[in-house]
Point group: C2
């Protein structure tokens, strides 16, 4: 069995474990956030972890009313200066905890008196040690180069922090159902495996999300690039209408991630525009009408709340990227040109 | 003559005019910023204007030590809530000033007591009217659907605001030389026109920048998508190493924007990695060694300071996108599927 296949399948159990084991830590961090009372959140991350940070923009922005800035680490490393962060909650996200530039943002912020939190899979790592607080995503070693289980665990960690901070019973109840939502989504595996071959000679695609699932569009696009070597771009549906829409010609494949919720009407309109241009749409949703509009349909659990949907909605994309890479005969666990730990300055 | 061709050529004169006519306004806004003393900057923008906002992240982050968050307008529009912005300088950037979502961010922020600034090409527009202050990019009507002169004018407006705020003579002197830097860069037009045909059948590419020119990578990629209908992705060199590097195979075309300055060493290393993979590199730089490593070389003025380089460095990309679209026989001034004003919620 491939590492990535096992790691995708492990997700419900690992997320259940994470919810059990780290909720006390999340509560402590939430108390510290309340006491510190930040005026904004500043998150440093790269690659897949940066997609998790995009989720945090919506989770904290909508529920905790905290604006979230994504850090530009080169200001700290290459330009050797630092923005004023003394009133910020500064979060560093990295699977390995070894990303030098992410670590530098945390170190600089802590020196200024910011409240610092690391989210990693490695409690002994430099990043985990550099921050005042550490939330451990606890997935165990991830052996596939392409991140899957650590991404959904990072999203879960962010959801746990936000939920602990906002402290509403409805959010907590939904969070505890997350392992079931993910299990249900994993049942799409066999179906996706039967049709992935259709895209064997696809040379490009775009992935579209909005709001909470902006991150999902980026992360599915990243998995397809890493594993299948296909130019796959992630977009907000709103940004895509500003220019890139010109790309769409008949047969152009477009992944649309659009669960029920606030973004559904605008994405339903967008899918109708794609249909006018005869694009090929692959739809991840739990809305029956929208699913009916797609050439390929990846149904999500009916009762999945929108705010938690990114944790489940990425999974059909993970499975698709893996299956397509297998169809192409790629070394799925070790894509060309990549290492598991990428050290960037 | 095409509108876009004339609009690209007009840039030095228009930017000279902007520097003359709006510096007093920039000074007034800078005073208001000093008085307000924001803890961070929050910028709402879409498409090309959002690429200008990326420049602001570095310009304000490095020189004014202000962290810059890029807004997620759907929080205001689709999710109908707002993050706390009362301690922020909130800037809305839009050529037309008609973008409803950008306008909503400004309106919400102003209600909370934030300091609000609009940067538009239309002083009577809803966005210009919604903000407390307006900086007019003063380019006159832009008739090409793809933005060129309004983008460099937006970058210049940001540089003017930052320079007025930081108030260092060296920055002001450089800023006043900007029209000359742009004129010199425009002299590349004839050369690019001779070789653009080489890429007639190119089906994908990536554009890479770092730091200040992260925005340039995004904007060149956007022009190529809009005008040539080619999947062109913009990346930070650091993010590209985290995954997308797997895309690179022999002949893969990569635009690298790497002027002299703090990002040059890491980008020079990156170009050597691309050479190992036999990628095709198109280089925009003023570093003689780095230029020598490219299949195509687009030299920038030797004395162009890094912090201002995005205003000039995008120009070879504008010219390339236009010339390639001409080689492909596209309707360059009116790409398929786009309108000049895109209204998104």
């Amino acid at each position: 069995m491939l590492h990535i296949e096992r790691e995708i399948a492990e997700q419900p159990a690992l997320i259940g474990n994470l919810l059990d084991r780290e909720s006390e830590t999340a509560g402590k961090i939430a108390n510290a956030i309340r006491e510190f009372d930040p005026t904004f959140i500043h998150i440093a991350a790269r690659g897949t972890s940066d997609n998790a940070a995009r989720y945090a923009q919506y989770a904290f922005g909508i529920h905790a009313h905290l604006p979230v800035a994504l850090a530009t680490p080169s200001i700290h490393t290459l330009y050797e200066t630092t923005p004023k962060l003394s009133r910020a909650l500064v979060i560093g996200i990295s699977q390995s905890g070894k990303s030098e530039d992410v670590c530098k943002v945390i170190t600089d912020a802590r020196e200024q008196g910011a409240l610092t939190v690391a989210i990693t899979n490695a409690p002994e790592s430099p990043l985990a040690q550099a921050a005042q607080f550490h939330l451990n995503v606890m997935t165990g070693p991830e052996l596939s180069v392409a991140a899957t289980k650590t991404y959904t665990a990072q999203l879960t960690a962010i959801a746990m922090l936000m939920t602990a901070l906002v402290d509403e019973a409805e959010l907590t109840d939904s969070l505890n159902r997350l392992p079931d939502f993910i299990s249900e989504t994993l049942s799409l595996s066999d179906d996706i495996a039967t049709w992935a071959q259709r895209y064997r000679y696809m040379e490009r695609l775009v992935t579209i999300g909005r709001g909470y699932n902006y991150c999902t569009a980026f992360e599915i696009s990243l998995k397809i690039k890493e594993l299948c070597y296909i130019s796959g771009e992630g977009y907000s549906e709103a940004d895509f209408r500003h220019g890139p829409f010109a790309l769409i010609d008949p047969g152009f494949p477009v992944f649309v991630i659009a669960p029920s919720g606030k973004t559904l009407p605008t994405l339903t309109d967008f899918v109708s525009k794609l249909a006018e241009r005869q694009a090929e749409t692959l739809i991840i949703s739990n809305d029956p009408f929208l699913l009916s509009q797609g050439q390929k349909k990846m149904p999500l659990p009916a009762s999945l709340p929108e705010w938690l949907s990114p944790v489940a909605a990425v999974i059909p994309g993970q499975i698709f990227a893996m299956q397509l890479a297998l169809e192409k005969g790629h070394a799925v666990d070790a894509p060309r040109g990549l290492n598991k730990v990428t050290v960037t300055r």
